[in-house]
């Protein structure tokens, strides 16, 4: 099944079979830089949102761009210059970190080959007075830009259908996470499934995930007794780290990653008018706070979310995998890790730049897992 999931997509858009099949139907697709860009809105316009994740290739064309910024932003720019994103019809960046805010102009200036490069304005302080009203106006600009690109009107009906599809996707991913928690699926298999949902049309992905769920339910795996890790961070250009953990005798059983639970945990309301539901859920009612969110208590909310997931999936420890030069995650890290330590939860910090799992990281993960094994009395 994992092979089937793997084959369904590629993180290089020009090699992503699902994307190429979509394009063959005469439809358009756009690359997005953050899960806070409402994917339902994009899909309701008849466009396919593809999450951009960068890669680990050395930088050549982008070597002197975004210095001292994360490898994600630099490698994505490199991919764009090299033509790896040419299967896309446009890109959508977001005012979610300094590199996006200050880098947007670069993309606009040097990547004129894309007919559509949009800068999306989210709400970072959800309790600020007037936040929803502000967001509604920005969302309307976004909506109109998507309609112009696609030539399709976003109607209440198309939006409601998109919400239903993606909510189903969210529910399936949650079910898959629960199956991993029970030891039926491995950390890597589940990460593959979550990643696939960011790279495929939701109907197709829902079919794939449904068959994974069915197949997994019939498995009869022995329970996993090794160290169970919660992975905390933003995103990764591949799943090498999940594999590394398994190679070292551990298992990732939960996460708060932008390519994991943070991306799908909370469904969009179906009780409201679809447009209003999107606006509310993506702005003032956001429940999962990433470190870029600026509510006074957003770090505390993050700690609560991590501990809730750890309880749900019986995790033993937290491993932070932060992108080097990511100010938001690294400013949040000391508080979050200390709060976890106060709860006697062991933590490990991995600073990731170009490679996700080089030899030095392997040594540290091995040592950490050994310690956890001892604690578990293995």
């Amino acid at each position: 099944m994992t092979t089937k999931v793997k084959k369904a997509y590629s993180l290089v858009p020009s090699q992503n079979q699902s994307l190429l099949d979509w394009k063959k139907q005469g439809k358009k697709a756009i690359g997005v830089f953050c899960h806070n860009i409402p994917r339902e809105m994009i899909y309701a316009a008849g466009l396919l949102p593809i999450r951009l994740l960068g890669n680990t290739e050395p930088l050549q064309k982008a070597a002197d761009r975004f210095r001292y910024c994360c490898y994600y932003s630099r490698s994505t720019f490199e991919m764009a210059l090299r033509g790896d994103l040419d299967a896309l019809d446009g890109l959508c960046m977001i005012d979610m970190c300094d590199t996006q805010r200050y880098g947007f102009g670069f993309w606009q200036k040097y990547l004129t080959k894309f007919p559509y490069i949009y800068f999306f304005i989210p709400i970072l302080y959800t309790r600020a007075t007037g936040a929803l009203q502000f967001y509604m106006v920005e969302l309307d600009y976004f909506k109109r830009s998507l309609e112009e690109l696609s030539g399709n009107e976003i109607t209440n009906q198309s939006l409601a259908e998109a919400i239903e599809l993606y909510n189903k996707n969210r529910a399936l991913l949650k079910e898959i996470y629960d199956l991993r928690g029970k030891g039926v699926l491995s950390g890597l298999e589940v990460a593959e499934a979550a990643l696939s949902s960011t790279q495929m049309p939701p109907e197709k992905n829902n079919r794939l995930l449904s068959s994974l769920v069915e197949e997994a339910k019939n498995r009869n795996n022995p329970p996993f007794n090794g160290p169970r890790l919660h992975l905390s961070g933003s995103l990764m250009p591949n799943l090498d780290f999940f594999k590394l953990v398994e190679d070292c005798g551990g298992m990732v059983v939960s996460d708060d990653l932008c390519i994991g639970s943070r991306y799908f945990w909370e469904p969009i309301y179906t009780s409201l008018d679809p447009y209003e539901a999107i606006a509310t859920c993506y702005s003032v009612d956001q429940k999962i706070m990433c470190p870029s969110m600026q509510n006074p208590e957003s770090s505390e909310i993050r700690v609560a979310f991590i501990t809730e997931l750890m309880r749900r999936y019986n995790a033993d420890a937290v491993c932070f995998v932060n992108q080097m030069y990511c100010g938001s995650h690294f400013m949040d890290y000391p508080y979050v890790s200390n709060a976890l330590k106060e709860k006697e939860i062991p933590t490990l910090l991995i600073e990731m730049e170009q490679e996700v799992a080089p030899a030095a990281v392997k040594t540290r993960v091995e040592a950490f897992l050994e310690m956890l094994k001892e604690e578990k009395g293995e």
């Binding site: 200050y102 947007f104 606009q108 920005e138 100010g327």
Partner: protein, 445 residues
């Protein structure tokens, strides 16, 4: 905490009239400890947005955290607190050294007598933060507020969407703004104004509550008028910098950052600027430059290495190079739209700050300075722990090169001296000035 020995010399001053600033600042630090003892004024640690005018309406003393970080750097006191913060888990490569500095200070600096004799800030009663300069500001102020367990106000400042960058002459967009403060002159959409005004009103309510003082609109109007007057004088000083030789260099202009922040809207702020204007005018009349022999006119920018201002600026001075313009020394002072209601004037100022407009606007600001101040080249500090300038600098570098200007980017850190490569930087400056010299000779034929 033991203070460190000075590692570098102080920068040689080109003007004398900025001296009252550091004198005032020392008194300010000591007064703030006194105010903390008596409880007469609320101590606010602040940063992240240019709303200092509003604080003059309430009984409070502001400690501008970034400014404080810079001050610690200039006094060679930043290494120790930075190391302390790193020991707590604040990453060397990925978090801003201003905030590593202040977090380290927060942990050990306050109350240390040796340290407090040089510089100091009493613990805050409230914290005021915002997202205007960068995202780390928002996070940092939450950390400070949490540490001290005090009420914290966060101001959300979305970027001004690039759709509002509409120019009459798209090819020469750089020419369409003022060259001093308040760069962004485009029409800002009403929902931006509404959102910013709503938050400004919340800020006023927050300050009313925590200072137990009613907001006085009449008083605020007077403060804004003074701030605008200050900006007007500031513009005149800037205009005089176009003279040959340039009467006041970047190093001296750095001293005027503090008044832009803490004294905007005060009689003292106006008085200091008037003193500087007078001296600068005299220098222009006497054809006296900010350095003894002006050979090269540079636009220098971004956050400088505060701990080595002397070493750096004295070296440039020795080589005959003067910084004739910088955005960093002007960004907090801007003319105000006094036709609006006071809270709207404030909101308008907040939205027009340098970091919120598009990348093109920011690159344009450097090109405009190069042209208007007849500069020979662009020298940019790229602070390695900052996320704003590495992107901004690259865009300015590309644009300046398109227009034929030599550009030098120097990787430094603003407050952390441990990564500073003095010899390497001097050698690159030498090479850069040689390129300029060769071009000048070629132009002369």
């Amino acid at each position: 905490m033991a203070t460190e020995e000075r590692k570098t010399e102080r920068a040689i001053k080109g003007v004398q009239s900025t001296r009252p600033v550091s004198k005032w600042l020392k008194t300010y630090f000591f007064d703030s400890f006194e105010a903390k003892k008596t409880g007469e004024k609320v101590i606010a640690w602040a940063g992240g947005y240019t709303v200092y005018e509003i604080t003059h309406v309430f009984p409070m003393i502001i400690h501008m955290v970034d400014n404080f970080g810079a001050f610690m750097g200039t006094r060679q006191l930043s290494s120790r607190p930075i190391e302390l913060a790193e020991g707590m888990g604040y990453s060397h490569s990925s978090t801003c050294s201003y905030y590593r500095n202040i977090i380290g200070y927060m942990l050990e600096g306050i109350g240390d007598p040796e340290f407090a004799n040089v510089v100091g800030a009493p613990a805050p009663d409230i914290v005021l933060g915002g997202l205007q300069p960068c995202f780390m500001h928002g996070e940092s102020f939450r950390i400070l507020g949490r540490h001290y367990g005090v009420p914290t106000f966060v101001f959300d400042n979305p970027a001004i969407h690039p759709r509002m960058d509409i120019h009459e002459d798209e090819k020469n967009s750089w020419a369409e703004h003022s060259h001093c403060g308040g760069e962004y002159k485009h029409k800002v959409e009403s929902h931006y104004m509404d959102y910013t005004v709503a938050q400004a009103k919340d800020l006023v309510a927050f300050l009313e509550k925590h200072t137990k003082t009613k907001y006085d609109e009449g008083k605020f109007r007077e403060v804004l008028q003074l701030s605008d007057k200050q900006a007007e004088i500031f513009e005149q000083i800037w205009e005089l910098r176009r003279a040959y030789p340039c009467p006041i260099g970047g190093n001296d202009m750095m001293a005027l950052i503090t008044p832009q922040l803490l004294l905007s809207g005060t009689e003292l702020g106006v008085e200091i600027y008037e003193g500087v204007l007078k001296e600068v005018k005299e220098k222009v009349e006497n054809k006296e430059g900010g350095i003894p022999e002006e050979k090269y006119r540079l636009v220098t920018d971004a956050i400088p290495p505060w701990y080595n201002m002397g070493g750096l600026y004295n070296y440039l001075r020795e080589k005959g190079a003067i910084s004739v313009a910088e955005t960093y020394t002007m960004m907090w002072q801007q003319r105000l739209d006094l036709s609006l209601k006071p809270i709207e004037t404030l909101a308008d100022k907040i939205m027009r700050w340098y970091t919120l407009p598009s990348t093109r606007e920011r690159a344009d600001s450097h090109l405009r300075l190069l042209k208007r101040f007849d500069a020979d080249g662009l020298l940019l500090w790229t602070p390695i722990s900052c996320k704003v300038y590495p992107c901004w600098n690259s865009s300015s570098r590309d644009l300046a090169r398109e227009y034929g200007y030599p550009v030098l980017e120097l990787d430094i850190d603003q407050t952390d001296p441990r990564d500073y490569d003095d010899a390497g930087i001097k050698s690159r400056i030498d090479g850069f000035l040689e390129v300029i010299e060769t071009r000048k000779r070629a132009q002369k034929g």
